[in-house]
Symmetry: C2
Subunit: 144 residues, 2 copies
Amino acid sequence: MFKKILYPTDFSDVANSALDFIKQLKEAGAEEVVILHVIDKSSLDALAMYTSKDFLQIEKDWEANAASQMSSIADELKEAGLEVKVRIENDIPFRGILKVEEDEDVSVIVLGSHGVSNIQEMLLGSVSEKVIRKAKKPVLVVKR
Amino acid sequence: MFKKILYPTDFSDVANSALDFIKQLKEAGAEEVVILHVIDKSSLDALAMYTSKDFLQIEKDWEANAASQMSSIADELKEAGLEVKVRIENDIPFRGILKVEEDEDVSVIVLGSHGVSNIQEMLLGSVSEKVIRKAKKPVLVVKR
């Protein structure tokens, strides 16, 4: 039931608390974890407006940063005895997550989540709420 | 991690799909299930408006019906080798669920959920969305 886990992360504290939970899921039969980070190009665009740096450079830095954070998460999970696969996607976060859910045919999605944090999320729902609504597989929501 | 499960049910199809999942959670270490049904008196009030039956009678019928459905769910879980506790609460559903989460100090809440089904839910969030937001323990959302 927890054999192949999809673990989407934005590297936030909340996503990290899900990571601790996933390590414990080994006892419950977890074997493999697909670690996913979705880079939202539209927020890169917004960032590019406020800096003099070259847009392509920002994108490169972002990707390099993501790759390094992903590899330390991967190490942590490997140490816990889990197989690991790393994916970085360019997409709108919730759409990227649902795409990889299908691609990888995972057993469950494990998400970190806090309460609602701003007005936009109250109106439109957070990334996790959208994933919970649209996912086909069970979603395990870990609280901070 | 899944030792003591809170399973809130409104006896819908969606809640039933969570039941099948819970039976399988035994392999993942589940031992005890608290089955919870919350009776919302305000919907009983609404019902009473459209019938000539006595209000107290409606309430009694409702409770008797809930008790009988709960006991067949309890039997099903016992057959799967799980310990069972049954609770029927009078409250607003999401609030009753969160209250029992605390009371019983459960390890996880397992909820059935479908997509959003009506405008009110789109605006205010469904019971499951409120529980996911406010719960302290992990919430496992099982899709239909």
